[in-house]
Symmetry: C2
Subunit: 436 residues, 2 copies
């Protein structure tokens, strides 16, 4: 099917930068963009969709998420970090069963689609629940079977799961027409040990040629960063490098306490730092050195983290915070220009996920497109679309989310997931997990 | 008319704190709340409104706004502070005429009502345009005729307007059934001088008994703060005190660079600091010492500032930022508890505005009520309503805004302002001001 959007504002991508067409046409042939321009294309289309008053932007990519943690939204909100994790989060996670992961993922998908997310990277348990759900939903997901070894004295034990991680890749990487990618993952330095991590690095190294990638948490809190130095005589970045994990392209979440030397390690290995501003602020983790990362030419992406530490999955909020928080911290109002921020949420996210066929609106790219309804009082006037998106727009201004040419969400309606069933499932899960 | 809300979640106010009723009844008699409880009241009501799945919260109070600056939304977004003000903002303001202020105010009202604001404090030009508009709209407004003297060498000149400020109070303070209050205002230390300010302080001092209050900007940027010390040998807070302005209850916007001594001055005079997190971050102004203010028992309120430096008028965003940004800055995840933040946006705002009959949901208070639609994926689960409001909720979750018992906005519809006309007027104003 060939679909033509007409009369739309279009945030296209041209010569490695955003290029705004105030009123134009965007054609989709199957799952691919086949035309962008101010003039009507000559070729015929099966369906023409009037998008007057809408701005088409590339699908937003959430590069760090724990989707099913939606069921832990707001749990222990008033506790300090350690107690929050050990007294509030872990006990609930210990009770979570397959049906709960299904429900948590469903709830996350509702929220992600309604806020313009077309692709996300997930790091959580029971990834097959998400694979099955996404078979029906049709988003793009980079998921993982996380390797963890809570007891650092005894290697392969509970939670380690190296074979399962490899098997997940073998079985599912690239399935769902490439929408589903399997990443490898080490949860963090402080939840594993040298033996397990080196063993895992050796196992995954041959997968590099198959396009495999890695997800990790890295230097999120000062305590974690300093405890690693205490333990290993090196920072988490240096430790991951020493273990051989960075031999594969790696996405590193948080990176709040990274040193200049850590960023050099990232540069040398092509590590992608993920900025998680809400989570880093809310949990009191601090401010990641994002300006320095960008200055060095690192490909910085954006993510929400899980709903337990955010407390939602709203990438517009992340863009907004990425745009303003660092300005206040460094007393510099032009530190994070809107094009840089939007790039982090789109183009850079696609690079991080290993998806070179998405992340921007250009002919030949996949039709991963979000429409923003500009007919909102808080979006007028909008002289420049990029500041409008990063400073004024809200997730609720999203009126259409399309993945691979298929509309998954439009004007409050979900086309590939049953909203009522998802909310029902979530309520049942909450009853099971919390007894209320 | 007597109206009863049934089956509503209610964030009532009891014993000086928020008290959550998961499912209850709230009665409104005319403009006043006459019942709150878990059980159905005995008294008859003319109309019963089912609010299942909605949470009733007190109307949000935006204590620092320049409403008509909506027309300058996003202007000069990529400029450093000085150039932004002098090259982008001031030239547009110089061109603004009465019709533009009307249009800018209309646009602001659309945005404020849809995001749950029932009352706001405004500091801008041509206040009569806002008085006239609000006659029809029915919000609560503290407005001002700002005293400014740009040339510090020659006292009463262009922009000074002391007599107009007094006259505005005499003519309009307390009108519109008390919904309209007139505050006095000195724009800032750096836009006036000693002679004008002392003169004004002497003139307004007798108005104290009539309940008059003052609005100022204070120590927003380091440059402003330090230039004042250079100029006067004292901080802006000490200077306002010396001029006699703090002889009236004063609302001080920003207060980013306030010293401990400044906060003592606030304490001594009952000055209300206004926290403006978005504006302070976006413009690179910095982090106000809010925890210290609260620790000292100062009544801290919240405000958006104008849309030119925000770039919207979204108090949910301000609550969200007030809740998380300071945590990240001070590396302490429990620094700004949700009840404190919601109190800043409601109870404290009412105190700042001199409105002791609103700011919370309690019997005998004015029916200034906002309903939040809880049937949203990003608001589930919501174990605790306060973290839900400050961390997860969005302005777009507001489904009803009521002022003095009158519904002004409900489910996307404005009942006292014509949305289409307001947007049309805004477009005409933009054409006049920007030629596009």
């Amino acid at each position: 099917m060939k679909l033509l959007f007409k009369n739309a504002g279009i945030l296209a991508w041209k010569d490695d930068r955003f290029d705004y067409i105030p009123e134009g046409f965007l054609g989709v042939d199957g799952d691919t963009i086949d035309y962008i321009g101010a003039d009507r294309p000559q070729a015929p289309y099966d369906l023409v969709k009037d998008m007057r008053g809408r701005l088409l932007i590339p699908g937003i990519i959430n590069c760090h998420c724990h989707a099913a943690m939606t069921l832990l939204r707001g749990v222990g909100s008033d506790l300090p970090l350690d107690r929050w994790l050990f007294e509030a989060v872990f006990p609930v996670e210990d009770r979570m069963k397959t049906a709960d992961f299904i429900a948590g993922n469903e709830l996350a998908v509702l929220e992600l689609l309604a806020s313009g997310v077309t692709a996300f990277s997930d790091m959580y348990m029971e990834p097959k629940t998400l694979i099955e759900l996404n078979e029906q939903v049709g988003m793009k997901v980079n998921l993982t079977r996380v390797v963890q070894a809570f007891d650092p004295s005894e290697p392969p034990k509970k939670n380690v799961r190296v074979p399962e991680s490899l098997q997940l890749f073998d079985e599912y990487h690239g399935c769902q027409n490439g929408r589903l990618r399997v990443d490898f993952a080490v949860h963090a330095e402080y939840t594993t040990n040298d033996a397990v991590t080196r063993y895992y690095a050796d196992k995954i190294r041959p997968y590099r040629e198959k396009g495999a990638r890695v997800q990790v948490h890295l230097s999120e809190t000062r305590k974690e960063h300093e405890a690693c130095i205490q333990r290993h005589g090196m920072t988490p970045a240096a430790w991951f490098e020493a273990m051989g994990i960075f031999d594969l392209p790696t996405a590193a979440a948080h990176c709040v306490w990274c040193t200049p030397e850590d960023l050099n390690i990232f540069k040398a290995h092509g590590v992608y730092p993920i900025h998680n501003p809400t989570s880093n602020l809310k949990l009191g983790s601090g401010f990641a050195p994002v300006p320095e990362m960008l200055e060095m030419g690192l490909t910085v992406a954006l993510g929400t983290d899980g709903a337990a530490s955010n407390n939602n999955l709203n990438m517009f909020e992340e863009m907004h915070l990425a745009a303003i928080a660092m300005n206040g911290y460094r007393l510099d109002p032009v530190l994070m220009p809107p094009p840089t921020v939007l790039r982090m949420a789109t183009v850079n996210g696609a690079a991080l996920q290993g998806r070179d066929d998405t992340g921007c609106l250009a002919v030949g790219k996949k039709a991963d497109i979000v429409a923003v309804d500009m007919d909102r009082p808080h979006l007028y006037p909008a002289f420049e679309p990029l500041p409008m998106l990063t400073y004024s727009a809200q997730a609720s201004d999203v009126c259409m989310t399309m993945v691979d040419g298929r509309i998954l969400y439009e004007n409050g309606e979900y086309l590939t997931i049953d909203r009522d069933k998802a909310l029902y499932d979530a309520k049942q899960a909450v009853k099971r997990l919390y007894g209320r």
